[in-house]
Amino acid sequence: MTDSPASAPPLHTPLNALYRSLGGKMVPFAGYDMPVQFPSGILAEHQHVRAGAGLFDVSHMGQIRLTAKAGQSAAAALETLVPGDIAGLKPGQQRYTQLTSESGGILDDLMVTSTGDHLLLVVNAACKDGDLAHLRARLQDRVEIEPMFARGLLALQGPLAVRALSRLAPSVAGLAFMTGAFARIDGADCYVTRSGYTGCDGFEISTPGDACEPIARALLAMAEVKPIGLGARDSLRLEAGLCLYGHDIDTATTPVEAGLLWSIGKERRVTGGFPGAAVVQRQIAEGPPRRRVGLRPDGRTIARENSDIVDASGTKVGMVTSGGFGPSVSGPIAMGYVDRAHAAAGTKLEMMVRGKPVPAEIVAMPFVKHTYWRG
């Protein structure tokens, strides 16, 4: 996880006081004071999301609205910075993509939703100021760029999320995975998408800043909803095989190496037109030099981030970028990058933990089956 610089005082999201009152154990994260866990603990929180509905405060993430200037297209403008098919988004559709660098690295990963009139972006907290500057430098002649950093963002995740949120906004039950719509919740104008970062069905709810806490309280009053901290957010996304920016992807990894080719529009693979397109297209044609893979160690030893991955002869072939205990898998799991020659599922490698090799096997991800609601 990305810690904040020690100098600045931590920022607070609209839920800070509520989460402190619920016994949240607060830690610095991306410049914010955020709950890593609640009294029930990370394992219980993780299992609750898989079986019920968990409420995450993700208001620290950056929400940015793009609106086309006269005679311009916001989607066409954004496509000059990302490899995703944004022009093809119909109103209410959402897509995952990346801001790429000239060398094909990933400056940030983000969600883009078209409302018809605007594009709504959700970017990582640690990157949001840099992303905003990047967008302004490249796009401000073509689009209005509005940071909405004072808005709240709630993630309600789990198989019972739809039942819970439908009580406040019946229309959300009609959304399919990776779509969104405006909804009035508790008297406030919100934008709800059926998406998340857990591999489960669920929603992300963008709220006016002052409506965030009342909506969170209304959800937490429901029997199936419990507050969830960053600790379980990390174990859930790792089991779901999802990348954490700054760990599994960064400016030194390309979308192809990261196994994110699925998120690059088919046409855009050919036409390019985004930063680093030449590097990405070459890697699509020739194969990337290394690949992000899932790893299951034998036994219960956990190989964490930065553990070396070696082959049978002890030669380093890669490195772990995320590793931990998967509560739903009931064992250790990891993801990392390995040289292309060793990246096939079933390959036996070893991960070095405290100087000792731990046998591991490359496995397909996700570690836990996604249960998205596709309608």
Binding site: G41, I42, H46, G231, R300, T301
Partner: protein
């Protein structure tokens, strides 16, 4: 008689004769959160006071466990590999880590008794 002492690294040691049973304190398990793996030493291993002797993995992080006294490991709690969560439930009881034969019982003099340890923990929060 039984002597119970604590280290400032939050290990406890319960000594009868020249053999001490070692685990981590309730404060330590609370700080760690859910324990999911404990790496124990091999029996027969000699360790110096303060040396790294075991590892506790919580969901969040790995933490080293240090030998509160010098000596030789004579037994480890194999049950912990099957039920590491016992560390959160009964840290001072069934979730003991290992037994160590003290090479110098005077090592105990440098450790805290229960009252001193409780006072020490009170300064940490």
């Amino acid at each position: 008689m039984t002597i119970l002492k604590f280290s400032d690294q939050h290990e406890w040691i319960r000594v009868e004769g020249d053999v001490g049973t070692v685990g981590i304190s309730d404060y330590a398990q609370q700080q760690l959160g859910d324990v999911v793996f404990v790496e124990l030493p091999e029996t027969g291993r000699a360790v110096d006071k303060g040396g790294e002797i075991a590892v506790v993995e919580s969901v969040k992080a790995a933490s080293d466990i240090y030998a509160p006294v010098s000596g030789e490991i004579v037994e480890v709690n194999a049950a912990l590999s099957e039920s590491p969560g016992d560390v959160n439930v009964d840290p001072m009881g069934k979730a003991w880590f290992f037994r160590i034969r003290l090479s110098n019982t005077a090592d105990l003099d440098a450790l805290m008794d229960q009252a001193a340890y409780d006072a020490f923990v009170a300064t940490l929060s």
